[in-house]
Symmetry: C3
Subunit: 354 residues, 3 copies
């Protein structure tokens, strides 16, 4: 995990076929409570139809100055890019340029999809660095998150992750501009030819382990892929498919992904909650830290607490729980107050973390 | 996935203890309908006893001119080779030489087992290139598929896969001779010391993900390993173990392997069918493509079809289904006609694929 | 797998809060029968409290000369080390120095925890080589096993494993001092931020596959991580949690790990037994080898035995079983006699292994 809050990565089309083409973008920028995503990703790529992309860019540039200053999370528009389609990547260059020129101070980064091998990722980082320089923004102020959704990017994942430390393949400095690795399972499954006979797609568990590892090894954020079966139908009734999505988010939390992709405010609510320690979890871990501290004071290295051998290593897992709860309480006090009682939060705050 | 049909990789011993020592080889070369493998692999390695190998080579060289010209798929004999046994690899060199000299125009490639690190694979590619040159065959006309069944080959899988693009480690050109990566779980499990207490072997899911990825990243074919418990016995009756094999093939299809290994005509039938879209699957995906095209015409980027968010990425998965059905209809019209009705095939043919 | 017996890797604190601070260390050094670990790891790191570490080192140096000469397995103390904490690593250097100076002839190696990238592992190997030279021990007599428990070590696993072959990144010789790769899931899960909502931690199956592979590719030992829920409680009764531990060890055996981590003599007994072929398994595999030899003599390459296609590759798995049983019978005759009858052992001994 990284010391950065990204429980939710919510994409929102920048323009849709509607009287109010910016409605989903505006609703993302003004969401509150558990519906507010940690990262909002205005989508100029697949979520917006080709015929609407120009209008979408205008929506984005119009709404950012109005709403971004009050937005509680980070904003990273997704541009067009494709390692195997130069015309698409050329549009991506223009989109980067336009966003940075006109709204550079309102965005935290750019999301680049369909990157190929590490050299392709380096060229995306350079494009952002060039725009930053051209329009006089502070160096490194606009970060990049890439969508890992091609066989080439998976093959080069270790080298791509290392760009998070500012290490490029040829030794040149990339200013640690890479901020996140995000899984894109739909394109990825299509590239590999994975079959989905019953509509359930393969979940790529080994890729998720690697993504979590390379993100942690290089201190960048790791995010799971979208869950696109938003609604289920059974016995004639269609309903929000909240159980299956929650199970996917729980699997992503187990493997150490920092956050999950959201396509809908209800998904954002669920992912914000699942990537937040439950009150029981927080209480359990606070108590174990307290009891371990007492045991250590009496000269014990590893102690048995409720049948579990606890040592310095175990302790770090409990500290992760406390750290996450405290960061949420700082950034989103209304979320923490809705979930934890004040006494528990006080105990969590009084623990010394490394 | 790659743009090449290899649903089935059927090995056949080149000589067995029988009055007609070539019977399995001949039956592979003359199989028809769903029993015809996409790739037939006459086996000079483990499937043929040491005492029968010379007779097997003679069978192979005698039967190829007779049957290969009419064979509907591709033919790639498996030779002997072992990264840790120079005498075996020396026999492999002689077998390559003999096959290319005497039947080079009748084989599509050579299957090389038990390769070690990437340097060992490069030496196998060179051996084939040398024979090709010596006997005046067009450069690159004889490809190579390797069996990934050693810890060293798994460790170097990314570099080995890259040879599919004609990139050797030292920069020399390998003419993209590498055509396939095939899993060999039995040798592999023995090398790693995997235990099989109840007869069920571990399935190496992370390796299969990596094999599928590196094949797709380099446009070569990926094939799963043999299922050797051909027959099951229960309550006194022995029978063809078709359910377990089908489940293995379905798992391989889910992870994006192009094809499955077959040891028996019944397995070939099953794998040919499972790696072929079902009529329901084809109809579902054709319909989703048609409906997405309508939505796109009306300016929508992502649309909800039967509760699923569909966008350009989702679409690629549907296109894979259509592509596979169309290729099978071209190469094996009798198979397509047995499975799809004419109207559905017509709709599939009228879709524009990228 | 490697040709070296390490079914069990038992850590024992070198000092605990007790009248007899060395009691667990002494009990490890004097264990017999199935309680005797193949590798005993006196623990100067997390298992021993900071306030007890000096006393623990004195216990270790006092007990080794007394018990090590009679110990049936290998002894590898675990020192302190951390890629991200120079003060900790500095203590590790001093601990290596003190152990090698005062008890170098009584230890087989050093266990180094929390290593980072391959360069960090190389510096640990150098530290041991320096101490060996300084105190006049034969070169390479003190090996090193590393705990893979950081994202960086997982990222560099392939390069770290290659040090087992004496190949350092910069080409300098490391004398093949690396003897083992051991998983450390608790620290690892904390680094990646893996969540454990219900107390069950994620098992990192892809990492285990890679660990087993890189160990086998470089002929070093692979060992799974500790199972720390030693005791379970249900309906008011607390008891040794033997079922869950056994299941973990069985999963580790399936994926080809040579051995399992033990925190308790009961765990050592179970892991020694599970990593030892059962009598049924040994009998089954001895019989298949015998029947295959008969078939081969009659000119058959692959034969069907009890519904399974058996060939040279399958045979290697059976030979692993026989090899392991024979090594245990050599080193721990009392263990072999407790499990196998003499006639079966005789058949196993008469098989020719490669």
């Amino acid at each position: 995990m990284t010391q950065r809050l990204c429980r939710t990565f919510q994409t929102a089309p920048v323009a849709v076929a509607s009287d109010d083409t910016a409605k989903y973008l505006r609703s993302g920028l003004t969401a509150s409570g558990f519906q507010a995503p940690d990262w909002l990703v205005p989508d100029l790529e697949d979520g917006t139809a080709p015929a609407k992309k120009e209008e979408g860019m205008e929506n984005l540039l119009a709404l950012l100055p109005e709403y971004a200053p009050e937005f509680s999370g980070e904003i990273l528009p997704r541009i067009e890019w494709a390692y195997d389609a130069p015309a698409t990547t050329e549009r991506g260059h223009e989109q980067i340029d336009r966003i940075v020129e006109n709204a550079g101070e309102h965005v935290d980064g750019i999301v680049v999809p369909k990157v190929g091998r590490v050299g392709d990722v380096e060229s995306a980082l350079s494009a952002v660095a060039d725009a930053e320089r051209e329009y006089g923004l502070p160096q490194g102020s606009i970060e990049v998150a890439v969508i890992v959704e091609t066989a080439r990017a998976r093959s080069d994942l270790r080298e791509i992750g290392a760009l998070g430390n500012g290490r490029s393949e040829d030794g040149s400095d990339t200013t640690a501009r890479l901020a996140g690795l995000v899984f894109g399972p739909v394109d990825y499954t299509a590239e590999l030819g994975g079959r989905s006979r019953d509509g359930d797609r393969f979940e790529w568990p080994a890729l998720l382990e690697a993504l979590s590892n390379e993100a942690s090894a290089n201190d960048v954020v790791a995010v799971g892929g979208p869950f696109d079966r938003l609604f289920a139908e059974r016995a004639g009734v269609s309903f929000y498919n909240g159980s299956e999505y929650a199970e996917q988010v729980e699997r992503e939390a187990a493997v150490g992904l920092d956050g999950s992709w959201s396509l809908h405010p209800k998904q954002t609510t669920q992912a914000n909650r699942i990537h937040m320690p439950t009150p029981d979890e927080l209480e359990r871990d606070v108590e174990k830290i307290e009891r371990f501290a007492e045991a250590k004071a009496s000269g014990t290295g590893a102690v048995s607490i409720d049948g579990q051998m606890v040592d310095e290593a175990t302790l770090k897992n409990f500290q992760n729980t406390v750290w996450t709860a405290r960061v949420i309480a700082d950034r989103h006090p209304e979320q923490a107050e809705a979930v934890y009682d004040e006494a528990l939060l006080e105990r969590a705050r009084s623990i010394e973390l490394r």
